[in-house]
């Protein structure tokens, strides 16, 4: 866009220049400690340079000093702290692949239930905080109210509300408590109603649509080139979900569908689509939980946990669909009890890299909308 330079009353041309402004690390809408260096021309953003590392905790280096593969799990929890179950699942898959052990089917079912409950909890945060980014405060509290119920279920199961240390290599720390199934079923029933409430109040709100439709459009090819995954990729119209395309655990046994962005109110791959994919995915997760919960086989959840984990020298890559996308762990073993190297492929980090591409030329308010729609968790970006 060409901007004519203003002329003063004396006819002299006034000088305007670009301004560098720091968004973060203490900015309310960077969802943590991210710093975005913005080069702005008035309200228009010309360039976005993300600066990372404010929450770097040397996760990968720490792992090398663990004396046991199981000890890594609490660290994994702290990566994507709003979706800890999914992190544990991905890590457990990677190490189990390395060990080449078979785990009981009951464990797989419980893992799927937990991962999907966690996905709903995580998407609720994403949708709720997205409301705050757009200026609507109320849906956020509705979302958190529902998320509390999921956290209650987790607390019932393993005692922790946020960082669980629940999914272990080869098994689980606890079996399901006795009244878990009826409580989950009643939660699903209630949640269907409240989810509709949030959808009506926020997602189809005229102002919300105006603020998010056609904003931050991420075309299919750009999304693939940048390696985006999860709702971000699916909103751009790419039909790709690891749960279906690289089935792990017992996902192949359930009937559900992959949600793809359709550009219902704007262009395919805009902020509204990304948000809507998350909303619809919650419904799909509910479907999976509903089916899994009635067909859990009996079994001992700890029978397959190895007493000593000492994998043969080798490497493995285990991946799972976390709420943010493809979460992968690349584990190398040198035959000792501690991992030689662990590398995490965190979806939030990869998804964030696309921000400059899709927010160039937008306004500051749009940038906030784009940031929120990417749904990053800084604990995972920085590790």
């Amino acid at each position: 866009m060409e901007i004519k330079s203003p002329i003063s009353s004396t006819g002299k041309k006034l000088r305007t220049e670009e301004m560098i402004i720091n968004m973060g690390p203490q900015h309310p809408s960077t969802h943590g400690v991210l710093r975005l260096e913005l080069i702005v021309d008035g309200e228009i953003v010309n360039e976005v340079i993300p600066h990372l590392g404010y929450l770097h905790r040397c996760f990968e280096k720490h792992c090398e000093h663990m004396t046991n593969y199981q000890q890594v799990i609490p660290y994994v929890d702290r990566m994507d702290y709003v979706a800890a179950m999914n992190n544990e699942l991905a890590y457990a898959i990677a190490v189990e692949k390395l060990l080449a052990i078979q785990i009981p089917e009951r464990v797989d079912y419980i893992r799927v239930i937990m991962a999907e409950l966690q996905r709903i909890a995580s998407h609720l945060i994403a949708v709720g905080t997205y409301g705050i980014d757009i200026g609507a405060f109320t849906p956020f509290l509705y979302c958190f109210r529902d998320r509390e119920k999921i956290l209650d279920l987790f607390e019932m199961t393993c005692g922790a509300r946020l960082l669980y240390n629940y999914i272990w290599v080869g098994g689980l720390s606890h079996d399901l408590p006795t009244n878990f199934i009826p409580k989950t079923q009643s939660f699903i029933k209630e949640f269907r109603k409240t989810l509709k409430e949030v959808t009506d109040l926020l997602v189809y709100n005229e102002i919300f649509v105006k603020r998010t439709a056609n904003i931050g459009v991420l075309p299919k090819d750009v999304a693939i080139n940048y390696g985006c995954s999860g709702p971000m990729l699916r909103a751009s119209g790419v039909d790709w979900d690891l749960r279906r395309d690289d089935p792990y655990s017992v996902y192949h046994k359930f009937d559900w569908k992959v949600i793809v962005g359709k550009g219902e109110v704007g262009t395919i791959g805009d902020c509204w689509d990304r948000n809507m994919v998350r909303v619809l995915e919650m419904e799909e997760s509910l479907k999976i939980i509903e089916q899994a919960i009635v067909s859990i086989p009996e079994g001992n959840v700890q029978s397959a946990i190895p007493k000593r984990i000492r994998p043969n020298p080798g490497e493995s890559y285990g991946r799972a669909e976390s709420p943010r996308g493809e979460l992968g762990f690349y584990v190398i073993s040198d035959g000792t009890a501690s991992p030689y190297r662990i590398k995490a492929r965190s979806p939030a980090f990869v998804n964030l890299s696309v921000i400059n591409e899709i927010s160039r030329g937008s306004m500051i308010a749009d940038l906030v909308a784009i940031m929120g729609s990417i749904d990053i968790v800084l604990g995972e970006v920085d590790r």
């Binding site: 809408s29 309200e43 609507a136 405060f137 509705y142 102002i207 603020r211 306004m363 500051i364 308010a365």
Partner: protein, 348 residues
């Protein structure tokens, strides 16, 4: 009221000072009530209960808030322009407070019974813009500057549709005196301008739809003028941290806060005067009298304040350019059309 005070204190300077200070006696308790109201309404909209500990259902909480703000350290950033930085909050408050001078609280009380009352309100509330710009500029903070520029653009844009609405009412009444505007609507709910004013039935039926449109324009514009959701762009929390008052703390911040709430009442009161009969009772002469007048005025004002709070906690926020679009391409043309139409109806 003025006569009564003159009887006690005699005619002199003192009486003018007293008359001017009276609205302050209203603003302070009103602000406390509104802060409480806002928190409680917000909480109930959001499925929570808000504060319950301080006093019965937390009624003492606003006092605690004010006390806290009084105790806070008053920080002036080292790089700020100290003079402008310190003047700004007072200017903002003065601009708002000055509007109270002409509000007709009752048939017997208005701070000053100006003949140019409506023009005065439009003029004085524009003074606030200077204060906001000053605050944003003097803070030496880029986010504050953004907030200040946005609020200046916003308030000036939205004054135009408001001015057209006011002009229409002035055309009907033939006076800018707020007391006269109110008097014309007194005598029952049917005489309020929103219901067509005190005209013959055929004229009324023609005026009602226009009046409803004008009322909507005025109300939307007033929301923008007090910087509240969906038009809280100058202090958009998720975008600009706090906008122009980011760098303020303690009592100076409280003044901004107070000015915002006071302004909320001014614009609501203006809506009441223009469309809902000001201090006049909805039942004609029943429940009418100087005291009841004040009661009706404040009650009607508070209804609109509450609606404003309700909207704030329901709607998302617009973007700057969308806000300008609404003002210049939607509200202003409609307001002009309505003004012309009302003019024809009055002549016909």
């Amino acid at each position: 009221m003025e006569q009564f005070l003159i009887e006690i204190f005699g005619d002199g300077v003192l009486i003018n000072i007293l008359m001017a200070a009276l609205p302050l006696l209203f603003i302070l308790p009103y602000a406390l009530v509104t802060i409480y109201l806002e928190m409680k309404i917000a909480a109930h909209i959001q499925d929570r209960v808000a504060y319950m500990v301080t006093g019965w259902h937390g009624v003492l909480q606003p006092f605690a808030d004010i006390l806290k703000l009084l105790q806070k350290e008053d920080i002036t950033p080292a790089a700020a322009n100290k003079i402008l930085f310190n003047i700004a909050p007072f200017l903002v408050f003065v601009g708002t407070y000055a509007s109270f001078a002409v509000l007709p609280f009752s048939s017997h009380y208005a701070g000053s019974n100006l003949d140019l009352g409506l023009l005065y309100i439009v003029a004085v509330s524009a003074l606030v813009v200077i204060g906001l710009l000053m605050a944003g500029w003097a803070s030496n903070n880029k986010w504050s500057l953004f907030g200040a520029m946005r609020s200046a653009a916003q308030i000036i844009s939205y004054e135009i549709p408001t001015a057209f609405v006011i002009l229409t009412i002035v055309m009907i009444v033939g006076s800018m005196n707020l007391q006269k505007v109110t008097e014309m609507q007194s005598g029952g709910i049917g005489n309020w301008f929103i219901f067509g004013g005190p005209f013959i039935l055929s004229k009324k039926l023609l005026l009602i739809p226009l009046m409803i449109v004008l009322f909507v324009i005025q109300y939307v514009a007033s929301m923008a003028e007090v910087n509240r959701t969906p038009f809280d762009i100058p202090e958009a929390e998720s975008e600009l941290v706090q906008g122009y008052n980011t760098e303020y703390s303690g009592m100076k911040f409280a003044l901004f806060y107070l000015a915002e709430y006071a302004n909320l009442f001014v614009v609501s009161a203006l809506t009441v005067v223009l469309f809902f009969g000001g201090w006049s009772s909805p039942f004609g002469d029943f429940l009418s009298g100087p005291f009841w007048n004040a009661f009706w005025f404040v009650t009607k004002g508070m209804v609109f304040v509450s609606v404003n709070i309700w909207l704030r906690w329901t709607l998302p926020r617009l973007r700057v350019d969308q806000l300008m679009y609404i003002s210049w391409k939607v509200l202003t043309p409609f307001a002009i059309f309505c003004m012309i139409a009302v003019g024809f109806i009055l002549v016909w």
